[in-house]
Amino acid sequence: MATGFHIVVCGSLVPDPLQTLEPVETPSGPGLKNEMMLPSVLDPWAAHALYEAAHLAGSTSDSKVWLVSLGPKARLQQLMMNIAQKVPFELVALDGPAGGFTDAYEVAAALAGAIEKIDGLDRSRLLLFGGRSSASRDAGVTMQMVGERLGITDQFLAVDKLTVQDDGSLRVLERIEGGMYLASGCEGPPAVCAWSTGELPEPPNNPQVGMQNMRTIMPALQQAQPAAVGAEGLDFQKVEVPQQRRDTKIVKDVPAEEIAREIVEWLRS
């Protein structure tokens, strides 16, 4: 009897946060200036989820990872050139907007629908991973709704650490206020884990992993189904990005404590 996990990671692209992001009104609603020109990265919270999933699958025999991504197909294709080299996964692609002006309810419905159609997915072994929120614009509710649609009641929505116990049960540390953790346990899958940071660094690029992944990625992109999640009917009253104030100072050999002190002073000023 198979004992490994079937881990489905929900994660898509966000504009590279290093870029200049400027909200504009477009004929199809709010958007970002030159959005199609902006480089994209895997949503950082989803990236943690993916790396944790790959690590768990790698250390638990008979496990498998799927990455379910909803985004513009061309942009997803470009994103895959980067992340496909990181860890092994099988892609399930949905073609739709991912610019931060989508409706979480519709996104959850599209993701859940795609997960239900995954061939060979054993729902009794399912761990549903994703980010606790999205770096573009998100209320932090999408993963919860995807889980509800799939009938998963064990949900952990700010996960930093997941440990599989000897008896197969799961121990989860969730981030809560005050710099503390909430320790929880459940008997095992199915469960939802929406990750905060995890504990793993970004893996190095592995060309062999990339070549292996690419055999399924291109067919998945070609078969990507359209997903209408564009917040039709929603009215965005106001859109703005946080104000920035920049000061650059180059320092050498300054202790971290001193740098921290200067930053605090700067913030107070």
Partner: protein
Amino acid sequence: MASVERQSVEVDIVCVGFGPATGGFLTTLSRAMQDPETQPFLMSKAMPGMPLQVVCYERADDIGFGVSGVVTRARGIRASFPDLEPGEIPNAHEVTDEKLVYLKDPVGASRRPKGVKGLDAAMASLRLLGRSKYQAVELPYIPDFMKKDDGLVLSIGQFNQWVGSLLMSSGMVQIWPGMPVAEPLIEDDTVVGVRLVDQGTDPKGEPTDAYMPGMDVRAALTVVGDGPVGPVGRKLDEHFGMPEDHHQRDWAVGMKVVVDLPEGSPLQPGAVFHTIGYPEPEIFGFLYVYPEGVASLGIFVPSWFDSPVRTSYRYLQHWMMHPYIWRFLEGGTLRSWGAKTLQESGRRGEPYLVGDGFARVGEGSGSTNVLTGSGVDEAWTTGVQLAEGVIELLKEEVPFTRENLEAAYVKRRRESWVEKEGRVAEKARDGFQRGFIAGFIGMGLSGVSKGKINISGPSRRPYERVPSLADYYEGVLAPEEVERVRRETTAAGESLHDALMEAAGWPVIPYDGKLLISHQDALLLGGKVQAPAGYPDHVVFLYPSVCEACETKLCIEICSGEAITPGEGGVPQFDREKCIHCGACFWSCTQPREDDPERTVLEFRAGAGGLHSAEN
């Protein structure tokens, strides 16, 4: 380091670097792989039963990062895409207007030798300058060889992304950004593939706990398109040498910004400006207008600008503030910033184009035309020519030997417009060895006579041209003053040029936080520069004692990202996280190696990271 066990994979064709040349190669090859007529011939030997296995490794973190705005006649590109609509490519537009502009020195600090002063005076005597409050003359004539009025303005970053997207969606080839190639694999003078860089090392290349040796990718054909400072191309040059009388001694660094023009800008999409004369006579400028109120603009600082403190960023800002340019930019906002090296030896810098198991395309193969100021279209075309040759050889089922590649690729190239125009341009810039005026006249003569008449000059290596600080500032700053500035900046760990330029009369740049920003802010706001951890330093000072004794340390002054700074004990220090991989340090180093006068003691290796902007 002890020998380590490396993963190895076998493919049919491995490409190094994803630029226009590799884009042309892969576009042509992938189409043939989908064509029912040619597809049966293009089957894999590495993986029998599968289509040809073609992979491309690109150093930058994404395809399209860290390149430049261009104006191009796009003959080769349009031949590949006959129905090309510029609107399909962000930031592309047909050329609608083209101007060649002479800029006078509005601040009085530009180094203007007698000839240039004469040119200034001649313009003034014609009352041309006097008529313009913008201190510039729009020249009434642009030579035919320079004209791009039937061409396109392009962001090469966006063009590369567009091409890459088409290629990836074909499913025929794999392109992997963020994966630098360390070196070619050479066995018995045959190139059998490439070795990727080691990951999980400390800055010196020593393994850490996360060490992952770079994989060997073995292939019947290695396509080298890694540009002017690519490590694979240069390793091939080291191994095979250069053809007789060929050398790469002429370089330039192009530094540019992409700007949101102020509202109500009179500039129309497709407008092109070429400038000469300022901030120093040797520095050329460009401004290309993209659609939707965006412009790409910048300068070229060449290796024949004989300054021991040449800097691109500071000169770029002075050029932007020239009244003729500033009237367009004032009120605008910087979107992007970057720099890259150009190999300006052209055909004279052409290496061996092919050998057993390898072929070279693009700028690193000497395809750039320095007379017409065109490189992208030529690079693209060499890639197409190689693909056509490769398809021919695969059909004939013959191996990728030097002889076969000569017949299938080099012959095509020799018979093409790239070669014909490259030969016209071969000596076009020799006059600059004698100074700006001689160089300018020489270019004109070469162009008008189609290469029959040229002004020659002694061919000197870049480091043979660099004067001492005292000589350079003679008559402007006293030697004691120069020495004082040098001592103070070294003690402060800063570069010399800012302090010396201000002492020499260049005004302080009035930072506005939007367009005129500090160099470090340009890295962060414009270039979005970063480097992933776990890779070795790719700029290496091979002989610290030589660097310690070096008086000019031009590597520090030219560094586009301020990644090289004065270090303890006099040896420059390198900060990988600021490097934009322009490679200007490599050709600006003033200290030759004892065993090879064509090479210097600064080594520029394969490295990860750099610019994160695709709008350039």
